[in-house]
Symmetry: C2
Subunit: 664 residues, 2 copies
């Protein structure tokens, strides 16, 4: 991050009002975590072996090849450096593959964890050593051409043949082709395949099977296996998401992962004891998603847009006074600061989710599974809510960069398209909202019966005050209370609608579909409330931990801005039942403007505190040194169209045509 800084950006840094290191520690969690992040980030960033060309100027095949090369190089380095802790590995990897996937991501993140979680001890001892040393490289093949979030709908079959003690893996239809698994198209040689288990004509539902898909000698597809790449996508160009078709491929009985359910040699099926135990991993994956895909991607885009807005000068405020920084326009602040505040809010709720996960996890280890339904409802609502809004916010950041935001030199398109799948994977967002709503409606009924509800749904036990206590001097307590009231109101409304339809004689499943709009609104309001409350809790924790007042001050402003912006955007909800008066609405609006103005001097400090290295942002507009214009031309010159002065198509098409035209 060395070099002379653009004076316009330096002036911003010279007037930051808070202790930046303390804020960075709050972002990371603790000073120790900051130190750790810096250590493993620097190991990656300072390694000249990873100083590779940006993918921007490569063809798809070249991008894929570059990713494979970098992946193999990285794995060797990890071995040499002896990095083994998952968090350290994660930090290291994400600085070598920023906003990207490695060619073996599914091996590390799904294949090995699934072996650990679902293979029997005997199976683990056979497969894990090979997987851990990469003698075999695997992926996880669940999604099919015709089937995504609804796992029961999968069509691939694994039919048990008692005679040979084998499973026959087969793709009976076109829609049963495996489609989308990462690293499947070209990179991996094994897969854990989810398939309908059929024994003696009976279907026991989807189960995991380990299948060799390519030769270990020459990488050719195994007999009966047809596979390849699914073609170009909106992002992840360097990754080979794949398709796979099975034509009666036989695997030994031992290749069904049998930690939970089992098939005996004679075909006897033994069912798993408690399927809820696998929920834990899902919840953890979602908390990572909230942090990485929602919070950090949005934080990166906000970093780029805010730094650039302090370098870019345009138009005029005061006639004749010269072009001001774009950041000085109130309209630009109104676009960008809420995105910055949202990034912080999502980061803090992800930290909270992780804490809840770890505490619930140790309960599970003790056999207590009471909080699993809440954890499932909460993680569903938050995953959908945060990824939905992060994606919207990233696009706002992109267009805040004006025309240059459309160029890949802004870096935002890449961050955006890499975050985008977050709205569909690990459960499509509307399905997620509805799952959360199902839990919330259950809670309403439990509360009616007098049951005490846990943690994040306890608000359904107590009717909120009929009027908001928000005053001119808006504070976080009243804001949290307002979100709680809105969530209470919308959850009860959805529940009421549902009951009404059923009372009117509708079947409960039809009523559920009929009320989907209200149910989704309820789940969104619940997620929003949890996020606002997590921000307030974080402020409390930081205050208790003696974090400097300057940091608490600026974060309180951000927290308020997040909450105020959400009320302005959804004011109808808050004004329903006259909860918020006309005067209170004007307090909200004035508070919002005040927060914009107050945050302005610290805008650059608040994005610098994330400490995204230039190599991670991969953005000319968002460079730490603000030397934007000096570097755009150099960047553009790398394009293959600039390798020659005159493109071959001139000689082939334009010249003959123009010469003919001149003769006319």
């Amino acid at each position: 991050m060395a070099g002379t800084v653009n004076p316009d950006l330096q002036a911003e840094r010279d007037r930051i009002s808070f202790e930046q290191e303390a804020l960075t520690n709050a972002i990371d969690g603790t000073p120790e975590k900051t130190e750790k992040r810096r250590k493993y980030a620097n190991l990656a960033l300072n390694d000249p072996d990873f100083d590779m060309t940006s993918y921007n100027f490569l063809s798809r095949s070249e991008k894929y090849g570059a990713a494979v090369e970098k992946t193999v190089k990285m794995i060797k380095k990890i071995g040499k450096l002896g990095i083994t802790d998952p968090t350290d590995l994660y930090i290291y990897r994400s600085h070598i593959f920023p906003n990207e996937s490695t060619s073996f991501t599914l091996h590390a993140d799904m294949f090995i964890p699934t072996l650990m979680g679902q293979a029997s001890p005997k199976q683990q001892s056979k497969w894990l050593p090979k997987a851990l040393t990469l003698q075999i490289i695997g992926t996880y093949a669940q999604t099919e051409l015709g089937h995504g979030t609804f796992i029961r709908g999968l069509e691939t079959t694994a039919t048990y043949d008692e005679k040979t003690e084998e499973f026959v893996i087969h793709s009976p239809t076109r829609t049963s082709l495996k489609w989308w698994p990462g690293n499947l198209g070209k990179s991996t040689n094994h897969a854990i395949v989810m398939a309908q288990l059929i024994v003696k004509g009976q279907n026991y539902g989807p189960h995991p099977f380990i299948v060799q898909i390519r030769s270990l000698e020459n990488h050719m597809p195994q007999p009966g296996v047809t596979l390849g790449d699914i073609g170009p996508k909106f992002g992840y160009d360097a990754n080979d998401n794949g398709f796979m078709q099975f034509d009666h491929v036989r695997i030994p009985r031992e290749n069904m992962l049998m930690k939970h359910s089992r098939v005996e040699p004679d075909g006897t099926y033994i069912k798993a004891k408690n399927s809820k135990l696998t929920y834990g991993t899902m919840v953890f994956v979602r908390s990572v998603l909230i942090r990485d895909v929602a919070a950090l991607s949005l934080a990166q885009c906000a970093t780029i847009a805010i730094r650039y807005s302090c370098v870019r000068r345009q138009s005029e405020i005061k006639p004749g006074a010269g072009e001001p920084k774009v950041m000085d326009y109130r309209a630009q602040q109104a676009k960008l600061f809420p995105q910055l505040a949202t990034a912080y809010a999502f980061l803090f709720v992800a930290q909270e989710m992780e804490n809840i996960y770890f505490s619930v996890n140790s309960e599970i280890d003790r056999g207590e599974i009471d909080r699993l339904p809440e954890l499932h409802g909460l993680s569903s609502a938050l995953k959908a809510f945060t990824t939905d809004w992060a994606v919207v916010g990233m696009e706002i950041c992109r267009r805040s960069c004006g025309g240059h935001g459309f160029s890949h030199c802004s870096g935002i398109p890449k961050i955006y398209v890499n975050a985008l799948p977050g709205v569909t994977y690990e459960g499509e967002n509307t399905v997620m909202y509805l799952q959360a709503a199902r839990y919330l409606v259950k809670c309403v009924n439990m509360a009616k019966r007098g049951d005490q509800l846990p943690g994040s749904v306890a608000f359904l036990n107590k009717k909120p005050a009929p009027k908001s206590s928000i005053t001119e001097d808006v504070n976080m307590v009243d804001l949290v209370e307002a979100y709680r009231a809105r969530a209470y109101y919308l959850v009860h409304m959805a529940s009421f609608e549902l009951d009404r339809e059923i009372k009117n004689g509708m079947a409960s499943y039809d009523a559920w579909n009929e009320c989907a709009v209200a149910l989704v609104m309820a789940a969104k309001a619940y997620g929003h409330y949890v996020v606002v409350e997590a921000f307030a809790k974080k402020l409390e924790t930081l205050t208790n931990n003696q974090v400097p007042a300057s940091v608490i001050g600026v974060l309180t402003l951000l927290g308020k801005l997040y909450a105020l912006h959400g009320i302005l955007e959804n004011s109808g909800d808050f004004m329903s039942e006259n909860y918020l008066s006309k005067q209170q609405k004007s307090f909200i609006y004035n508070g919002f403007l005040y927060a914009l103005k107050s945050l302005r001097p610290d805008a650059v400090g608040l994005v610098d505190a994330f400490e995204f290295p230039d190599k991670v942002l991969d953005s000319v507009l968002g460079r730490y040194d603000g030397r934007v214009y000096e570097n755009m031309l150099e960047w553009a010159m790398k394009d293959e169209l600039n390798k020659t002065q005159v493109h071959e198509s001139y000689f082939k098409h334009i010249r003959p045509f123009v010469k003919q035209a001149s003769k006319l």
Copy 2:
């Protein structure tokens, strides 16, 4: 569009309730326009010479080359076919380059029109014949690295040298580099360059100059001209948006376009009489933008998502009843039908804008320029409002396709990224809103003085009723009135805020910046009102023209849905001042659900009526025949990663590594 149709999609078409041809005529404007569109579309679509490979699987340089080849071929065809009418040309071209630009788009759309509008008769007789026969090919170079919407900020200079009677075109700074002009990087040999005119040390502001930039012999850059491609963008891969730097390039005095302002040989500057006259073109370009970039792009995405939602089956509504069409989920309807309604709404407002433009244009021809300010305010607000929402709607359509929406096989990413620049070009949207707001605030003051305001702003003359008259049976008249009331209220609020700040002693330019949030909200509400009212007017016109009742019926539902959805999304605005009661809000909500349910049977008919050919959608998911799954594999196999079974990177990187691992 032949072939066996997927039975799920055929079933949808078998139950369409309205006369589709009449709806298509309403979309096109008249039956004659439908006929014309079909004629020129078919000329393009049925020409085997244009049956080219999709760009999806090409490198950037290959895409550029393919576009050049197609452009030249198209121009020859146009000559052969003798197509000369601008509308016919437009239809023909947009079916050969769907959601794309040609390599000479700027020549046709900016270079020639600017010559016609700003060159003197003598200049026209010199340049136009060459331009029209493509002996010279030009672009329009205005935007610079450091300067976009604010034209006065341009830095390129054209300094007059009386001795030689030449202008010296120069790029004095890095930020003065021309940046973004389409077709500049590789394709064109002339440019109209906007530069600060400097005569005898005095700066007269930006003026247009015609400059040769490449040799007509070998296409090499002219001496003193450095130019190239600006590098990869989020879209328009096949186009060479370019940069250009001038090092004291001399052009004859006659190369300044002198229809309006002039520089005499001795350096005398003669100012243009009325600069407002060029507003007309700008307004026309914006009306095209509203139709093409906002309405039709959104309509295309809605077509893809709605057809696919009738083919895709997933999960279950009634347990055990099999997987329903995704379109049968109320939540999916709530996502997609508002986008469909928005596409229709934007289409109708674009038609209205075009009508206004033509009527005002003939006024201008008669020297009447009274309505220009309204036209400018209206077109600014509508351009920003429609492109903003269309882009949001397209992303909703994309994610409504689940995971497959992320693949380029959905076609949506391409339509999206091609529409995206619409939010910044022809004026960045926030700047547009603020320009509209400036006019609206002026209107409030005129109304206070008792002036009668024209057309779309006449609503500011009359205070709306204090309470909405919406009843359980919501009708368009009451809905239009509600939007009118909201716009009235928000425009007055912004005006009030502005006055208050000025009264409190703030300078008017600072007050303007201070109130930007309220001003933008006011302009949005104005645009929204105009769109809803245009829908109502269109319904009236169609009724007066004896369009079948079935078509009026389904369009009325769509119009209501558009208006109802907008109220639900912004209910706080409508509930302010207690304009909308709690009960009326529930009428709105119930009306919205009723419209979703009622539109369901006609969903496919409503998108089919647009008649987007498969070649235009370039989407496997949105195929007219609904044969989605059958074609996805074939599509994927075209990827360069599927040209070999084993990618070269396996031999280079994976195999050596795995072999080494096996030895451990």
